[in-house]
Each structure stands twice: as C-alpha cells, then as structure tokens.
Symmetry: C2
Subunit: 389 residues, 2 copies
Amino acid sequence: VSVVGPAGFRASGIAAGIKASGVPDMALVCTEDARPASAAAIFTSNRAVAAPVVVSRENLRQTGGLAVGVVLTSGNANAATGRPGVEAARTVCAEVAGSLAVAPEHLLICQTGLIGVPFPVHLVPEAASSLVEGLGCDQGAGERAAEAIMTTDTVRKEALVVADGFSVGGMAKGAAMLAPDMATMLAVLTTDAACDPGTLRDLLRQAGDRTFNAITVDGCTSTNDTVVVLASGQAGPAAPEELAAALETACATLARQMVEDAEGATLVARVYVGGALTDEEAHRAARQVADSLLVKCSLNGGDPYWGRIVSELGSAGVGFELDRVSVSYGGTEVCRLGVAVEHDEAAVASHLAGGHVEISCELGLGDGSGVVLSNDLGYGYLDENRTTS
Amino acid sequence: VSVVGPAGFRASGIAAGIKASGVPDMALVCTEDARPASAAAIFTSNRAVAAPVVVSRENLRQTGGLAVGVVLTSGNANAATGRPGVEAARTVCAEVAGSLAVAPEHLLICQTGLIGVPFPVHLVPEAASSLVEGLGCDQGAGERAAEAIMTTDTVRKEALVVADGFSVGGMAKGAAMLAPDMATMLAVLTTDAACDPGTLRDLLRQAGDRTFNAITVDGCTSTNDTVVVLASGQAGPAAPEELAAALETACATLARQMVEDAEGATLVARVYVGGALTDEEAHRAARQVADSLLVKCSLNGGDPYWGRIVSELGSAGVGFELDRVSVSYGGTEVCRLGVAVEHDEAAVASHLAGGHVEISCELGLGDGSGVVLSNDLGYGYLDENRTTS
C-alpha cells in the first residue's frame, strides 16, 4: 500500500541524524532502473518558498518534466535559510545522484521541519550512500520511506489504488500548517502507467485541487508544500480519465489521512456547501466555516451551535441571503431558512459525539457546491504548538 | 470616564431578564433632554446581519442621521431569528421610545449574545420603563450601562477623551468573534461637540478603520458589529481635525481594552509591518500574522519561533521577497534579510514573558506600513468556546 506498489519503483528510509532524537529523517523514492520517469509537481503558493522548492522547480524545468526520484528529509524545513540553504538542497541532490550514478538535476527534493534553522549539510555524504544502499521494492522499504518523512504525524500516510492494468501509489506527511492553496504538505505519488510530463502535470493539478486543496487543519499555508508524481511507464499507457480517477483517489486517501491525524484533533468534519452561486463560492464558504476558530471550538465540545456556522457563511464574501440558508448536522436540519427549527436534539448530540461530523449548508441561491475536510480544535493542538523546543 | 462624560447625555443599565443568570443585560444611552442629536454608525460587513443592524440602519436612514439614543441588550444576539427578530427589535425601540416620549425611529438598537435564539420580547414593556426610570448623568449610571452590555467580557470597557472645549466618551463590549471588517463589536461614543451627521459619519469611519478595524481576536466577524456615535452639540462646534483626533483616541482606547480582555488570552501583541508596497498591503500582512493560529500558539508558549511569522507574511498575498525580510521581537532582531541572526536570546525571552509583545516586520520593498493588535491563543479560549451552554 505505498509508493513501491506500482511497478518500477524502489524506496528507502534512514536516520541521517537531522533529528536530534535519532529517528528516521531521510527518504528516497526512485525508479527501479534509475532511468528518468515522467514527473510533475505542484508547489506551495507561499511566497516565502523554501530552498527545496526552489531547487525542485529548477530541476524540473531543466529536465522538461523528467526525474529519477525524490529525496525527502524531515526535522529541518530548510526554509528561511538564504543562499546557503539553496546550496544545501543542491548538495543533497548531488550526493544522492552521485550514489545513484545519475545527473543531479534528475532528482527532486522535499524537506519539512523547523523554519529558519541552517540545514546540517555535513551529514549528507554519509547519509546519501546509506540511503541508496537501503533501496528496496518490498513493502518494508515503502514503509520506511513513509516513516522517515513524519514530523508531528502520529501515523504513516500511504495509499495504493489498483486500477485496470496499472496502479497509483503514494505517501504523504502533514498534521499542521495545513491550509493548502495550489498545493500542500509533502506527498509523493508513483504510477506504472505511461504518461507524458505535460498530461501528468494537468492530471496532478486537477487531483490536487479536489483533494489536498480541499482540506484545512489550521489555515496556515506552509513554506514547503510539495506534491510530486512519478510515472514509470512499466504498465504501458493508461486512459487519461482512468489515470486521473486513480490519481484523485490516491490523493483523496492521503488528504483524508492528514486530516485524521491533525494535531490535537478528536474528529474529522466534512463541511458541504450547496446552493451557492458557483462552485468556487461554495468552496470558499465551506473553507470559511471549516477554518473558523469558533466552529472548531464548538466541534471540540460537541456543541450544536449552528449560529457560528451561519455567521461564517455570512462573512465569507460570497452570495448570501440569510433567509434562504439551511444547516444540518449529520442529516438533521437545525436551521431552516435562516432560523432555528425544531429537531431531534438527541440525534444531533449523538452525531456530534462520533468521530466523523457532517455539516451540510444550503445557501438556496444556485447550483454551486463544494466540500472541505477539517477537524476540531483541541487542547492537544495548543500542547503541540506552544513551544517548538 | 464614559458615555456620560460629555455634556448632554444620560445612561442607564438594568437586568431585564434576558440573561438567565439575572445579571444586567439592557442599557440605554440618550440625550439629556430627549432631543435628537447628530448620529452616525458603522455596521458589520457580515451578510448574515442581525435584526438590530437592520432596524438601526432603517431608523438612521429615515431620520437622515439623527437619534435621541441607543438601546443595547446582551445575552441574545437576535441574529438568525427571521422576521420575528426584526419585529422584536422594532418593539424594543418602540417601547423605550414610548417611555421617553420620542418617535421610535429616533432610537438605534444594538444587541449581542447567542445567535439563532428567539428574542424574549415579552420582557420588553416592563424593562423599557425601568430602563428610562434608571437614567442618570452620574458616573454610576455610565458604569451601569457599560456593565449591562458585557457578555464574556470580564471588565467594563469605557473611554473619555477631554479635548479643547469638548470631550468624547465611549463604552464597548467584545472579547471574541472579533475580526472587524468595516466595523466591529458594539460600541457607543458620545460627544458634546456640535457636528453635522455627514461629517460625523466620515469622522467615525476614519476612526473605526484605524482602531476597531485594526484589532483581531479570532478572525471571526460577528453578525452584530455596530459602532454608534451621538453628538449633543452642547459644547458648540469643534474643529473637525480636533474632533477626529479625539474620536480616534476614544476608539483606540476601547479597541485596546477589547484585545486586553480577549477570551483566554494572556498577552497583547502589537504586530507592525513596514516596508510594504502600500499601507493596505502592510495592513493585510500584519493581519495575516496577527490571525495565525500557529503564531498565536507560539505567543502563548513564549516561543520566539519567527519562522511562522515569515511563513504568514509569505502567504498574505502581498509583495514579498524573502531575502529582504527582517523580524524583531521587542526591538531585538531575530531574522535579518530572510535568515536567522545572532541575537540576545535572554532579551527576547524576557520580552515574550511580559504582557505586551511587540512584533516588528520589515519587508524592505516600499514605504507602506500598518499595525494590527492581537493576542495569544490560550487554553482559556477553548474552555470558553467549546460549549455555549
């Protein structure tokens, strides 16, 4: 169930010493034969881009959408590290590429962890050879890679979608600083379907918009967000719509795992908005509700206070008429046409006490709809984020 | 130090029974002689506008900017209450106007509390006469009015600015659902300066933008936000620039009191952004930092993690070049030109341990600057907002 699922990929995960705790912190996902695969990536929209994003963009541009693999490190984001940070990211690519006997620009790089701390580049030469030595196509190798990119994540995040004649595998990390805009967090997807880089990029963008860009944990967009997909082609060409569907399913699985593992959260909330003027407005309104500190507090306390939901819909900057709005929890309508409605309070209480809350809002204005996955705000989020040391 | 400070105003505060706890929940601020004063107001930009906002807008329009006074209730926001809610707000104005022997459209109304709960209009007739009977011009009367509009506020919020020949008084409430956009929370300002309604409106807008619209507690814009100013004219005409300055000082004092009393907060953070392309971009960037859940968590833990500040500046959607950015805490630079800089760590730790944190960000691109007042996110905010019952 991971990046080594599709034919033609190897993976590796080791402890390079970037994390003081000595747990795994460096991963590699690459083609089995070390030959370039079609590659595409989407990157954070944050203008404070981290060094690995700069270097991966450069390399993809230089190769015209080809890559042998992706190196990933955790424990240090290599962001706000200036020129030396960019050099460090290039060194990581060069050292790993040397061990693989490929050109440096054929490697992409993703890094995650603390911002503003110089990257310990002296660890790289030894780590690079261990990383390449550790490569394998077995399930264990995939798991080691997925584990090595975890930071505050409590579980590995992996996916495998088996389609007709090909498959899509993936791994990801992310539990906070999660409010994707164009792209999010770190994720690597692999497929054995053959696909040219341009098409692959279009498919990834579409899948990312519908999955990673439809989750929010805390409204903070990271400096390092990157999603990469590699297509080995070993299974031959796939119908684009089938590849698109499999890719979207794999991304959706990983996105959901991130929300489920969100720092300090006790539940997943699916916020649906229908009846908006456009899909874009529905998505914006759903995100406004999903990001709301007050709504997240209510969810944590199991409080069916829909007034906060209506207030967020009203301040989302979308077409809105209060006397047309309805809100339901788990299918039980609590607000109809803008006012409270008699309802089964026990049913709502029991729904809110479960681990999965469905909030459905109807704006009554048009056909636009959208969904954002979110969660509650618990004491654990504060515990996790009050101090980084 | 309140709304009765300027000549020509009376105030009152009583327990009308809206709050089950029996604490004061209804206030009135009006002219001493029950004659109309120049009046202006700014209202929430939330499209889910509450009934009192609808009625106050109507009345102001009908009178062309005149009002005898403002009735305020707490404990029930009368928002998302439909047509009956609007009728209830009109009844409040009519009953109080009856007791004052003035026309109903000469009263404005502000309400705050829970959203979506029908307003207990049956309490109004008795409350209206008690409210008018309780009117006084003494300090105690002003305090009773300021106390009757509190919800989760832990202290009264009052202001008095004595200028050359006139004065400006004010009271306000607000401790959460505070992210003003055009207007915010409830606030009533009074002045004995003479001023026509049109000028008064311009001056209020300007003062509001620089004060109430430059604070944020939780990024949530309320359905009921209203700021009202009444000018009795008893002190004669004031120079517009002097009235503008006094009004802004009074608003700033009240805005600051709201941030200081923010639910669960342990400190006030002043976020300054300079060197932006425009003042508007500086303000937007400062707000992005001030609203960030992760920055607020760091502040609560006294953690000098500036990486989150840079990340928020980068995702604010404003002109931004990482290698030109500098960040300081309390005057100690921790990030220079986009990277960590050696600094006095003890000085930073001690500054962050105080009750007032100064975060200063320089973007190095232009002359735009802006300030937003905010606070930290503490366990107390969750305690307060997990359940409303």
